[in-house]
Each structure stands twice: as structure tokens, then as C-alpha cells.
């Protein structure tokens, strides 16, 4: 009933975990049976280890949060030797979220990480928290396309392009990555935001600005998913502020073939499984047979 196939990645449920919010998975294994998660998208991985941004890295905002982790991660080698073997204990697709400073780095990462146990790649061309590359790849259609092409050249695994919402026209970005060969599109990454401490007159975040996520951004995310799903043929993975099964239903109706849970994991570590269960209840209550019966079914004829 809940099973989906996203660009060849077979998932037991359409509810994935969003990169950077679920670690590598095992961190949450005391709370969730990882085998019941649709897919785990691991923390953004880079070629070499990165220590991330200095200072305060998160701030709470009304119905949302800002983060400026800055892609701290142990690097691709460590991932292969230390983390991946642990994930082999679970029966869940592992998608690696990769980030490069150059187009070539994305290709190198894909080549290096195309090993058994990896189900696919999510290209983070949209991280707002790193100076080099990052956001530029995500806001210029040609750059985004060249990252996708380079990765496709270096792997036979499915490639998901993750789009930044900080653009004038999300559809142009989506079409560019689709044309370049992306097998799926995920969106949204975080909106660029800021908070200031009125006591110290300093930015709350060490990096001054950071990425906004959580329920606050849901209307923007849903709108973008709807716009993109209408415009492309590849499957769309929707995320941004999903906290409940009904939020997930909204994204599916808007055209997402699967959803990812980010910030909600911090509030409810069981969110990804609870939401899958709620989705099942919703399908049953509406007399539907499968999650696909919802996808893109929003009706906006007057």
C-alpha cells in the first residue's frame, strides 16, 4: 500500500528522512526501527572532512529554525570505512547527500561512493551555509545542470537533484536538472534567513545567516513542489515543514511521489514512521489502495 519506487530506488514507504536531520540513521535507532523508514538520506558528505561553521549553529524562529551547520562531516573515506558498514545491518535504502566545491568534486564523490550499500545520490547544490560553490550551483540553471551531468557520468546509481528555494523561478531550475539527466528532484532545501540578538546586537548564528526549515516554510515548499511536479516528468520528493501525516498528504496531492522529514525528527524522533502509519490510515479512511492514488491529485479547477 505504501511502497514506492523512486527512480529505481524501492522504498517500503514514501516517507524518507531529510539530509542533515537524521544523522546517518543509527543515531535514531533507539527510537525508530530504521527498517521501517522509506529511505535514509544521510548528512551532506564532502570529499575531505569539514569542521563546519564556528559559533552558534541553530536558532529557533516562529514555527521554524535556522541552522548554519556548514556541512560538518567526516568526509567520504570515513563514511565508506566507518559508517556504511554499520548501515549494512539495516534493510533500508541509503541515499548519500553529496556536496562539492567544484563540478569535478561532485563527480569524484559519486565515483568514489558508488559502492554496494548505496542506493543513490542526492546532490546538494543548494546548501546556503558554505561560501564556495554551494548556493551558486543551486541558483544558476547552467551550473546546476553541469553538476548533474558530471555526476551522471560517474555513476550508474540514481541521481536526485536537490533544489534551493532561494530562486526566482524554481521551474527553470527543475527543468535544467531534469534535462541534464537527474532521475528525481527533491525540494526544498532551506530558505536563507537571519536572526539578531537584541541584547548583544549580534547575529544569533555564528555564520550571520542560516537556513530556515520547519513548519514556517511549508507553504513555500508546497507551492514549489506543485509548480515543479507539473513541469517535469521525473519524480519529485517533497519536503519542508512536514510534521504530520496530513502535511505529507498535502505534498503528495501537490505532486510529490515521496516526502522527506527533516526538522520534525528533532521534535519527534519517530516522525518518519509515525507519518507513514498516519498516511496508511488516511488511505484506508478514503478507501484508497495505494499512495500513488494521491500523487498530483490536487484539483484547482474553479
Amino acid at each position: 500500500m505504501l511502497a514506492v519506487d523512486i527512480a529505481g530506488i524501492k522504498m517500503k514507504t514514501p516517507v524518507m528522512t531529510a539530509s542533515g536531520t537524521f544523522g546517518f540513521g543509527p543515531e535514531y535507532s533507539d527510537f525508530v526501527d530504521l527498517n521501517q523508514v522509506g529511505a535514509i538520506v544521510v548528512k551532506g558528505t564532502t570529499l575531505s572532512a569539514r569542521s563546519g561553521n564556528r559559533g552558534c549553529r541553530i536558532a529557533e524562529t516562529p514555527a521554524g529554525m535556522l541552522n548554519c551547520i556548514g556541512l560538518e562531516n567526516p568526509g567520504a573515506d570515513q563514511f565508506l570505512t566507518m559508517t556504511l558498514p554499520k548501515l549494512a545491518n539495516y534493510d533500508v535504502p541509503v541515499i548519500i547527500n553529496i556536496s562539492g566545491n567544484t563540478v569535478e568534486e561532485y563527480g569524484q564523490l559519486a565515483a568514489k561512493l558508488s559502492v554496494t550499500g548505496v542506493a543513490g545520490f542526492e546532490l546538494n547544490i543548494s546548501c546556503p551555509n558554505v561560501k564556495e560553490g554551494g548556493i551558486a550551483f543551486g541558483t544558476v540553471p547552467q551550473s546546476a545542470a553541469s553538476v548533474v551531468r558530471e555526476v551522471k557520468k560517474n555513476t550508474t546509481l540514481p541521481v536526485i537533484a536537490k533544489l534551493s528555494p532561494n530562486v526566482t523561478d524554481i521551474v527553470i531550475m527543475a527543468k535544467a536538472v531534469e534535462e541534464a539527466g537527474a532521475d528525481a528532484i527533491s525540494l526544498i532545501n532551506t530558505l536563507l534567513g537571519m536572526a539578531i540578538d537584541t541584547k548583544s546586537w549580534r547575529p544569533v548564528l555564528g555564520n550571520t545567516v542560516g537556513g530556515l526549515s520547519g513548519p514556517a516554510v511549508k507553504p513555500v515548499a508546497l507551492r514549489m513542489v506543485w509548480q515543479v511536479a507539473k513541469a517535469v516528468r521525473v519524480p519529485v520528493i517533497g519536503m519542508g515543514g512536514i510534521m504530520t501525516a496530513l502535511d505529507a498528504v498535502e505534498f503528495l496531492l501537490a505532486g510529490a511521489s515521496a516526502v522527506a522529514i527533516g526538522t520534525a525528527n528533532f521534535v519527534n524522533p519517530r516522525a518518519s514512521v509515525d507519518i507513514a502509519e498516519g498516511l496508511k490510515d488516511y488511505l484506508v479512511s478514503r478507501g484508497l489502495k495505494q499512495v500513488q492514488d494521491l500523487v498530483g491529485q490536487v484539483n484547482n479547477k474553479l
Binding site: 542533515g20 544523522g23 543515531e27 535514531y28 541553530i58 562531516n73 521534535v267 524522533p269
Partner: protein, 255 residues
Amino acid sequence: MPKTIVKAEVLAHKLIGPEVCELTLKASGLVQMARPGQFVHVRVADTIVPLLRRPISIADANAAAGTLTLIYRIVGHGTELLAQTLPGSRLDLMGPLGNGFVLEAERPLLVGGGIGLAPLVYLAKALCTSPITIVMGGRNKNEMYWQDIFQSICQNIHITTDDGSMGRQGFTVDVIDDILTGDSFDMVYACGPRPMLEGVARLAKERNVRCQVSLEDHMACGVGACLSCTCAATDGKRRKVCTDGPVFWAEEVFD
């Protein structure tokens, strides 16, 4: 370390000092695993604002009774809401989280500043077979409700206040040197503001006394998944305050 989520019933909730509350909860299942120095991640309200959980140290735990005590200061929106929780209602707690203190001390010295004294209550109780010396620092005598708490569990109590309204005037660090000279300790445990921790760690190192410090940082997940709380360690690598800490060997995080 096993951890869980419980809907803990509020058994008692009272103001024990200016803006400081003591909250007693029934948290069977969680309490039994709790060790001194660990914390719980509290959902202060069942609403979308505030969104994130709040980390609060375990100030006491009674495995037999299944009860947990938290002592916290009201500092912002989340703790304000927490303070409104009434006995009989339930709070969503995640824990126990983090690594606790290493309980290997024959002659321990405990040093706590302000609300940093909270985890030392449970620690002192756990160390009760040894004679315990504690240095308590606060802003002024109004903060010294801690004395009531510690006097039955510690043998020697030293007090400092910023304004001298109780005990010695000054910071805890100012008196540590004397105390370390006057007596022989095999372990220092410290929790409080970072400058205090650094000072205490430096003095302990000078005296060749092992030292554990409990750090704080803003936390989203509390379980090592989000990397919002990491800090640089002296080995050049990073540590997660939520899972590698909050308790660290001083030399692990301070040069």
C-alpha cells in the same frame, strides 16, 4: 547507550529560588537508565511554537520510585512555558541523553556555578560513599537555596557570590586554588559557565588532579544527528556535546 521517550507525569513543580523551579516527574523506563551528568530533552509544550525540545540536566533520579527531578532556570520562552506545567499533566521527555560523569573518585571536589549546580545534586548522591567537598558559586545570597539541597549530601561546602552577600566574594575559581592546596582530591567535577570551567580545569591540571567538565551548547536533536552542538577537541577532531558529552575530560576539550 539506550534511550527512550516517555510521557512523564508531573508529580510536583515548585519555585525554589528566584526564577528557578524544581520539577519532579514520574518517568519510569527512563529513570532506570539515568546516570549523573546525563540530560533529558524536554518538549515544553505540545505546540509548534516553541518548536524544538529543551535540554535539561537530570538533577536527581530515583530508580526504585521511577521519579526524576529537574532543576531549571526560567530564561526564555521555552522555560517560561515549562514553568506553567501543572502537576497531573504530562511532559514528553527524551532520554537519558549524553554521557555522564565517570564515577571513580575517592576524594571528589565538585564545583558548580549557578544553574550548573543542578547535575551535581545527582552526582553527589551517586558519590555518597566518599566524603564530598563542593564549591558553589552564585550571583548573590538569593541564589543560595542550593545550600539547602547540598548540605545533607556534602561534607564540606564552600560558597562564593559575585557580590559577597554570602560566602566569599568572587568567583568559584578564586577559591579553588586554596581548596586544592588545603586538601587532597583525586577528581574535580565542574559544571557552570565556560570561563569557570576553563579556570577550574587549568587549576586542576596544575595540581595534577583529574577533571571532568560538563559543557552546554544549543541543541536540536540531542542524539548526535544534527551537528548543531559540536565543539573542537584538543586532538584536532570534533566532539558532539550531546553524545560525546556533555561531560568531557577537561584535557579533551580545553588546552
